[in-house]
Amino acid sequence: MTRRGYEGVAVAVPVTVPYVRYSTRGAHWFIGQALKRLLDASGLAKEQIDGLTISCFSLAPDTAVGVTQHLGLSPRWLDHIPNGGASGVMALRRAARAVQAGDADVVACIAADTNHVDSFRLMLGGFSDFSRDATYPYGSGGPNALFAFITAAYMARSGATRADFGRVCVDQRANALAAGSRVFSKPLTLDEYLAARPIAEPIHLFDCVMPCAGAEAFLVMSEQRARDLGLPFAALRASIERHNAFSSDPMMVRGGWHVDRDDLYAMAGCGPADIGFVQTYDDYPVIVLMQFEGLGFCRADEAPAFVRGRSTAWNGDFPHNTSGGQLSAGQAGCAGGFLGLTEALRQITGAAGERTVKNPRLGLVSGYGMVTYDRCLCTGAVILGEPA
C-alpha cells in the first residue's frame, strides 16, 4: 500500500522563545510563552487553536492534558510527544494527518523545557527503565559514554578524525552567531575545538550540547487556512519515522534512516541532490555524519570524506544546521527536536532574511532521539518545501 502524501497541509509560524542557560521558571512558562508568540505572530485567537502537541521532559507531574487546563485551551485533538530529538518530526507527522482528516483545523506543535541547575542530573536518573538499570549505574551521567563508544567505533571504521567532527562544529558555531544566538558569543576555531578538555574520550567539550531552557513551536493547518490568514507557509513533501531500527546491530553503526529513506525521497519526488539545506539532529557530531550517510548524501562510513570536501556553513556549498544546531544554539530539552524545523520554516518562508541559503526551496529536517539504553531509538525525517 502506498502511503498518502501531505497535499493541502501547511506548516507555518515558526517561533522561538529565547534560550537561557538556567531558569527558575517551570516548563509551563516556556510553553505559555511559545503559545503566546504563536498567537501574536499568526493573529489567531487562543480559541482557534483546536489541536495541540506538547513535547517536554520537565513537565512532570503534568502531561499534555494538564497544559490545556493550565493555559486555558480546549482542543479536540491532543498528543503528548516527549521524544527528545525526534519530537518535531513526530509532532509534524501527527498534526498533518489530523488536519488532513479534519480532526483539527489548527494544531499548535510546541516543544519546551526548563533547566534548573539540577534538572539534567535528575532527569537522567529516571529517563528510562534500561538506562536506570544498565547505563546510569556506570557513571556516565548521560549519553556521553554511549556516544563515546559510537564515536570511537565510527572513527576506527571510517577513518574519521576529530578534525572532521571539528569542522562541522566550527561551521555550526558560525551559523549560530549569524542567526543571533545568545548562548555563545564568539566563533569557534578548529584549534580550540581540538584543544578542548575531554569529557568521555574521544568526545571533548565542544562535541557536547549545552542544556538550556527555552521553547520552539509552529502551527500546522490547511493550505487554504494559511492563505486566508495571510501567513507564509511551507508545504510538507514527505516524512518517515522508525523506532528501534537495526536492533540486532550489537552497537549503533547505522541509523534507522537507512531503512526508510527511499520512501522519503519517493514521497517527495526528489533525491538528495535536490535538497537545498539539511538540518540534522546534532546531539553529537558523529550522529551528524551518520545522518548524512543515513539520509543518502553519501555512503555508509564515507561521511568524513564528504565533509572534508564541503563547507557546511549557512552560506557554504552544503548548508547544514543553519541556525547553529544544538551544538551551538543550545539544547532546550525537547525543543532541540524542533530547532531544525523552525529554522527550516524560516529559510523556506523567507524569514531568514540575509541568512537565507542559496537554495531555500527544498529542505530536509532529520529527527533522532531517546537514548533509552545504548543508542537512540527514534529516527525520522521530513522534507519541507516552498508551496507549489
Binding site: R132, D133, Y136, P137, G139, S140, G141, A152, R197, D374
Partner: protein, 417 residues
C-alpha cells in the same frame, strides 16, 4: 598492567574525612535479580525458555519472541569488547570523585550488548574479555569486563577494589578469638595480608586451653576485651578502636544443643539470644557509625561487616532449636543492618555455614565444616565482594532444598533430616 597496591602515607589528622557518596542505586524489580545473583558471586542473565535468547537489560518479556517465560541462568561472560572510553566528567558524585573512570561496551558471546566497567588490564578495543557481575558500593550488581586470563595483582585494580573488601593491608576486628572458628579466621586473615587484627575475648579467666594465647603471639594480633553481653564493653572498645576498624567480623556466638523439651527453663536459650542476637545489635550500634564514616577514607577505607550466622537461620534444626531461632533472629537483624549500611557503601556479608566441626556439634554426623574451611570462605567472600555465603556441602544442600520449597524442608527437618 595493574600496579600492586601501595601502602598509603599516614593520614593528615586535621583534614576532613571524605564521606561516601554511593553510585546510583535505583534498579527495577526485575533487574534486582541480577543483584541477587551477584550477591552470591554469580553472573546471571535471563534466558527465554521458548526461543533461547539471552536478554539484557533485564525485562518482563522476551525481546525476540515476547514470551514471558524468562529464567535467570548463569553466564560465562565471554565476549568481545567493541569500544571503550575514559570518562573525564560525571554528574554522579561517586564517579565525579573518582575520575577518570573507564567504561566499555561489550557484546557477549551469548548475544546481548552490555555496558561495563573496565578492569585496568583491558586496554584497547577490539579485544576478547570476560564479563563478570560484582556488587558496587551501592550494593547493586554492575558488570565488569576483565581480561580473559588472570593478570598480576589483578585484585589491586582501583576500580575492582571499590567492588571488593580485600582484607589485605586492612585492620579488622574478630569479635571472639576464644573459639576454633575465631582462631582460624584470625590466621586466615593474617595470611591474607591483614595489617592488624583486633581479637575480642570475653571471660578471660576461661582462656586456658582455648588456643587464644597461640594466636596472641602473632605479630598482627592485638587481644582486646570484648563481651557482647556487656553494653559498656562494646561501647568502650568501639570508642577506642572503632575509628580504625576497616572490617568487622562478628563470629561471637553461644551454641547449645537444645530444642524446647530437652532443657527446662530459658537460660540456655537466653544465653544464645543474648550473644547471637542482642550482642550483634550492640555491636552494630557501637561500631556501625564509625565504619560508615570511613567508608570512603582512602584506599584502605572501611569496607565490610561480616556476620557468621548459620544455615539453621533459614530453617530451624529442631535438635538445636533454640540456637536456630537465635540465628534466625540474627539473620533478620543482619538484613536490617544491610539496609542501614547500604547508603554508606559498607558491604554486609552474611555467612551461613552448616554445622562446624566443633564441641557443640560433636554428636552430629559428618559432613561438618572445618573451622579452617569457614575461615577461608570468609576471606574469599571479602575478596570477591559477595554478600551471601553458604560454605560447605551441608549449607549448599540445605540452601537448595530451602529454595526449592521451604515448607518441604521444614517437614524433613522435623522428621530428622
Amino acid at each position: 598492567m595493574t600496579m600492586p597496591l601501595m601502602r598509603p602515607k599516614r593520614k593528615n589528622p586535621v583534614q576532613r574525612t571524605r564521606q561516601m557518596n554511593v553510585p546510583p542505586w535505583a534498579r527495577g524489580r526485575v533487574a534486582l535479580s541480577l543483584t541477587a545473583a551477584a550477591a552470591e558471586g554469580r553472573f546471571e542473565l535471563q534466558l527465554c525458555r521458548d526461543c533461547g535468547r539471552v536478554q539484557y537489560p533485564p525485562r518482563e518479556a522476551c525481546g525476540h519472541c515476547t514470551s514471558p517465560r524468562l529464567q535467570w541462568r548463569a553466564q560465562s561472560g565471554a565476549g568481545e569488547l567493541l569500544a571503550l572510553t575514559t570518562l573525564h566528567h560525571s554528574n554522579d558524585l561517586f564517579f565525579r570523585e573518582r575520575l577518570p573512570w573507564r567504561l566499555g561496551l561489550v557484546q557477549l558471546d551469548a548475544g546481548p550488548t552490555v555496558v561495563t566497567h573496565l578492569h585496568g588490564d583491558v586496554t584497547a578495543a577490539p579485544a576478547r574479555v570476560s564479563v563478570g557481575a560484582r556488587l558496587d558500593r551501592a550494593g547493586r550488581a554492575v558488570l565488569i569486563a576483565f581480561p580473559p586470563e588472570e593478570t598480576p595483582h589483578m585484585a589491586d585494580d582501583p576500580m575492582l577494589r571499590e567492588m571488593s573488601c580485600d582484607p589485605r593491608m586492612r585492620k579488622l576486628l574478630v569479635t571472639d578469638g576464644m573459639t576454633a572458628v575465631g582462631q582460624a579466621a584470625v590466621r586466615a586473615l593474617v595470611k591474607a595480608g591483614a595489617d592488624l587484627v583486633w581479637v575480642g575475648h570475653a571471660e578471660p579467666w576461661k582462656r586456658h586451653g582455648s588456643g587464644l594465647d597461640d594466636i596472641a603471639s602473632l605479630p598482627q594480633v592485638t587481644l582486646v576485651p570484648l563481651d557482647l553481653s556487656n553494653e559498656r564493653s562494646v561501647t568502650e572498645l568501639a570508642g577506642e578502636i572503632g575509628g580504625k576498624v576497616d572490617i568487622v567480623i562478628n563470629n561471637a556466638e553461644v551454641h547449645r544443643g537444645f530444642g524446647i523439651g530437652a532443657r527446662r527453663g530459658t537460660d540456655a536459650a537466653r544465653a544464645e539470644m543474648e550473644i547471637n542476637y542482642f550482642g550483634a545489635l550492640r555491636l552494630a550500634q557501637a561500631f556501625g557509625p564509625a565504619l560508615k564514616g570511613r567508608a570512603a577514607d582512602g584506599v584502605l577505607n572501611a569496607t565490610a561487616w561480616v556476620n557468621v550466622l548459620s544455615i539453621y537461620a533459614l530453617a530451624n534444626f529442631p535438635p538445636h532449636g533454640t540456637f536456630s531461632a537465635s540465628k534466625a533472629a540474627a539473620h533478620s537483624l543482619a538484613q536490617c543492618l544491610r539496609a542501614e549500611m547500604q547508603p554508606a557503601g559498607i558491604r554486609v556479608v552474611n555467612v551461613f555455614p552448616g554445622p562446624i566441626d566443633d564441641d557443640w556439634n560433636q554428636n552430629l554426623p559428618p559432613p561438618k565444616l572445618a573451622p579452617e574451611a569457614l575461615a577461608k570462605a570468609i576471606v574469599q567472600a571479602l575478596r570477591d565482594g559477595v554478600e551471601d555465603v553458604y560454605p560447605g556441602d551441608v549449607a549448599q544442600e540445605w540452601l537448595e532444598r530451602w529454595r526449592d520449597d521451604p515448607r518441604v524442608l521444614q517437614r524433613e527437618l522435623a522428621a530428622g533430616g
